[in-house]
């Protein structure tokens, strides 16, 4: 397939970027598929910025398929988590990300794996895009030893390299993210930290404290507000005196982005990363997005918004459908190919769920471990003075 693409590319070399709308749909064979196309994306609203991200972006077939695969994997993984929760195999808190996939995937596409990222509790999608397997995520949700946190953290406490969770206290992740950015600046490796928070968290005081210090010290921090219109059961109008979240960094430049379009998110993230990577200071992005599920699995999500609204977003703005339609109508992918990818993903999720339901729980010997790092083993008091347990780093 690679060779065929090279042939096609060579044939088309010398020509300008292909205008997506003028490509003729031909017979279905990979040789006829378009290797890349240029797409118009929505202009961003800007705050204290003279210019914003480009309104046109080039998408390669390879990237497109990768974004599709990643978004669809997150979608299916979340729906599987929903199922497992209803079967009571997942317990406690479970905040699902379906509907918002373009944000996690677009952001990851705009930064490097060596950059850093931190978010709040709606975290399964980011855990995946930051490199943790579906298997380890689902097994953490089911509380098994094969989970990414060995079963000890649960839904909101998943971590990976350059990924700092997974935070249960609303807003707390924002100063933490600014701190990671401080470390980036300190270690001078031109890395940035993406610090995410929601429309509900946007009213937390500690966020403004973090804004001030990040701006004062020019920290390489990309603050991103994922505005999905509702903070638990409270709509943005009822919680915020100003719903222009991209302006609320005040002295920090901001942009408001269509968070349902993975290409818009990617372009904006690239722009933001360029801005703050080389010493200009922090920048703020507001992603306008939507969650299909309620706030958590214990919220049906229809007491404070209408089913019509949810249906409308699904029908008109679903991020996965949008990308798929774009690629197919520009002959960048075939329906069969997409179906094959879907089938592969379904299989991957099923296998991961199998693992997550059959892997054993963490052993009792692990109960008191991981209290301190790099420390000598010590005794931990159990439920009574006669029960002495052991803690190993």
């Amino acid at each position: 397939m690679q060779n065929m693409l090279t042939v096609v590319a060579n044939t088309l070399k010398g020509g300008a970027k292909i205008n997506g709308s003028r490509v003729v749909v031909s017979a279905r064979s990979f040789a006829d598929l378009t290797p890349q196309a240029s797409f118009d994306i929505k202009r961003c609203d800007l705050h204290r910025l003279d210019e914003g991200p480009s309104v046109q972006t080039v998408l390669t077939r390879e990237d497109g398929l990768r974004y599709y695969r990643t978004m669809q994997t997150v979608r299916r993984m979340e729906l599987k988590a929903d199922q497992l929760y209803k079967q009571k195999i997942i317990r406690g808190f479970c905040h699902l990300y379906d509907g918002q996939e373009a944000c996690a995937v677009g952001i990851e596409a705009g930064i490097n794996p060596t950059d850093h990222l931190i978010t709040a509790y709606r975290v399964h999608g980011y855990t995946y895009t930051r490199g943790v397997s579906v298997k380890e995520i689902l097994a953490e949700l089911t509380g098994r030893k094969g989970g990414i946190a060995k079963g000890k953290g649960g839904s909101m406490h998943m971590y990976a390299k350059n990924f700092y969770g997974g935070n249960g206290i609303v807003g707390a992740q924002v100063p933490l993210g600014a701190g990671v950015a401080l470390a980036c600046q300190y270690q001078a490796k031109n890395e940035v930290c993406v610090t995410l928070y929601g429309d509900g968290a946007a009213n937390q005081g500690q966020i403004f404290e973090a804004f001030n210090m990040a701006a004062l010290w020019k920290l390489p921090c990309i603050f991103i507000c994922e505005n999905n219109k509702y903070g638990m059961g409270t709509s943005v109008e009822r919680a915020s005196a100003s719903t222009d979240y991209y302006k609320r960094g005040d002295y920090i430049p901001g942009l408001r982005v269509d968070g349902m379009d993975v290409l818009s998110v990617r372009e904006a993230t690239r722009f933001a990363a360029d801005y703050c990577r080389y010493g200009k200071g922090p920048i703020l992005m507001e992603l306008q997005t939507y969650r299909y599920h309620g706030h958590s699995m214990s919220d049906p999500g229809v007491s404070y918004r209408t089913r019509d609204e949810i249906q409308e977003v699904r029908g008109k703005s679903d991020p996965i459908t949008m990308l798929k339609d774009r690629m197919i109508s520009n002959n960048m992918a075939s329906l069969e190919e997409i179906k094959d990818i879907d089938a592969e993903i379904r299989k991957e999720i099923e296998e991961a769920a199998q693992f997550a339901t059959s892997d054993p729980e963490p052993p009792l010997e692990d109960l008191c471990n991981h209290i301190f790092f790099n420390d000598t083993p010590f005794e931990v008091r159990g439920t009574s003075p006669w029960v002495k347990l052991k803690s190993i780093s």
Partner: protein, 373 residues
């Protein structure tokens, strides 16, 4: 009882009092209880802890115009745990206020309103989130009456679920009884039953001082029988008085909140082996009813405190210290002991979580170990 006497005299007179009760017949106390039970049976009803809390707030909102409720999702959403269901529909925006997610901000606002004469009830979706607000609870509410030399009281209630709940993991499962219990100027209440919840919350709202009211999510849905008396709009339980939930002669178990249920279950198990536990439901953490504990220890000579919180510097630690310093120590036949949560952050996996809180078998084991059986 005879509070004006010095400790030794008080002990002796309490002993005499106890002896007189016991002398009146082994079955005197149970018979009295039985008679009361039959009398109230017709009018008693089953009420969940959640509904009892709501009833308390409803009645106090109706009784006093100055009382109002604020917190996240308390109005339209009817409460994250549905405790405030129906209140916003009944009382409207002025009395039931939805706040943004800004704990220290709205706590400060509530304390300010209390300083100016209103009587706010602040709901925390979890006391774990109150950690953000601790500065205002302590520095603006607890200490102010003292710092002002008696000029500025702060009549406010901080309430919400505290401690463990199934599957909520480390950041959402901490028990704050010891943290708040540490602070002079605060009253700290930890109800167990529906009756506790209703009577104590009403007292808390009517109290002119800052009260931290520690509920528990596990107990919200548990129904209890509420006597006709406890259904009255003026039913109050005094803050600072413990309740003996189960009488016994062999060992005193002192507990609070959802763990009282485990103590009652453990007592039932031990009764089969002929060991009769006296279960004390503390009801209030500060001021603590040491008299009730000492009176019980005089009788049983064995003391075990049982709590869900961490052992170090905990509620049990305080009780044991006071027993050491007071008359109770002289009556113990064995060193008093604490049964507590394990000294680790709360794990998520079910097997680990279950082994982090004191189970019935842990209480039974501790009793038998202490009694050498």
């Amino acid at each position: 009882m005879h509070n004006s006497l010095d400790p030794r005299q008080r002990t002796q007179s309490n002993m005499a009092y106890l002896r007189s009760i016991l002398r009146s017949g082994k079955n005197a106390v149970p018979a009295v209880l039985r008679r009361e039970f039959h009398r109230t049976l017709q009018a008693a009803m089953q009420v969940t802890v959640r509904d009892a809390i709501k009833e308390a707030m409803d009645e106090e909102l109706e009784r006093d115009e100055r009382v109002f409720l604020l917190g996240e999702e308390v109005a339209l959403f009817e409460g994250a745990y549905k405790v405030t269901r129906g209140l916003w529909k009944k009382y409207g925006d002025k009395r039931i206020i939805d706040t943004p997610i800004a704990e220290i901000g709205f706590t400060g606002i509530a304390v300010g309103a209390a300083m100016a004469g209103l009587r706010p009830v602040v709901e925390y979706m979890s006391f774990n989130f109150s950690m953000q607000s601790v500065d205002h609870i302590i520095n603006s509410a607890a200490k102010t009456y003292y710092m002002s030399g008696g000029l500025q009281p702060v009549s406010i209630v901080f309430r919400g679920p505290n401690g463990a709940a199934p599957g909520v993991a480390a950041q959402h499962a901490q028990c704050f009884a010891a943290w708040y219990g540490h602070v002079p100027g605060l009253k700290v209440v930890s109800p167990w039953s529906a009756e506790d919840a209703k009577g104590l919350l009403k007292s808390a709202i009517r109290d002119d001082n800052p009260v931290v009211f520690l509920e528990n999510e596990i107990m919200y849905g548990v129904p209890f029988e509420m006597s006709e008396e406890s259904q009255s709009k003026d039913f109050l339980i005094p803050i600072g008085k413990a309740k003996i939930e189960r009488k016994g002669n062999h060992v005193t178990l002192v507990s609070h909140s959802h763990v009282v249920s485990r103590c009652m279950d453990a007592a039932a198990v031990l009764a089969k082996d002929g060991i009769e536990c006296e279960v004390i439901n503390l009801r209030t953490i500060r001021p603590m009813d040491m008299e009730a504990i000492e009176t019980s220890v005089l009788k049983t000579k064995h003391l075990i405190t049982v709590e869900g919180g961490w052992p170090q510097f905990g509620v049990g630690g305080e009780i044991l210290a006071r027993i050491m310093e007071g008359p109770g120590f002289g009556y113990l036949n064995a060193p008093a002991v604490r049964v507590t949560g394990v000294d680790i952050p709360m794990p998520y996996a079910k097997l680990l979580e279950e082994n982090t809180l004191p189970q019935i078998k842990d209480i039974v084991f501790s009793v038998k170990k202490m009694l050498n059986v």
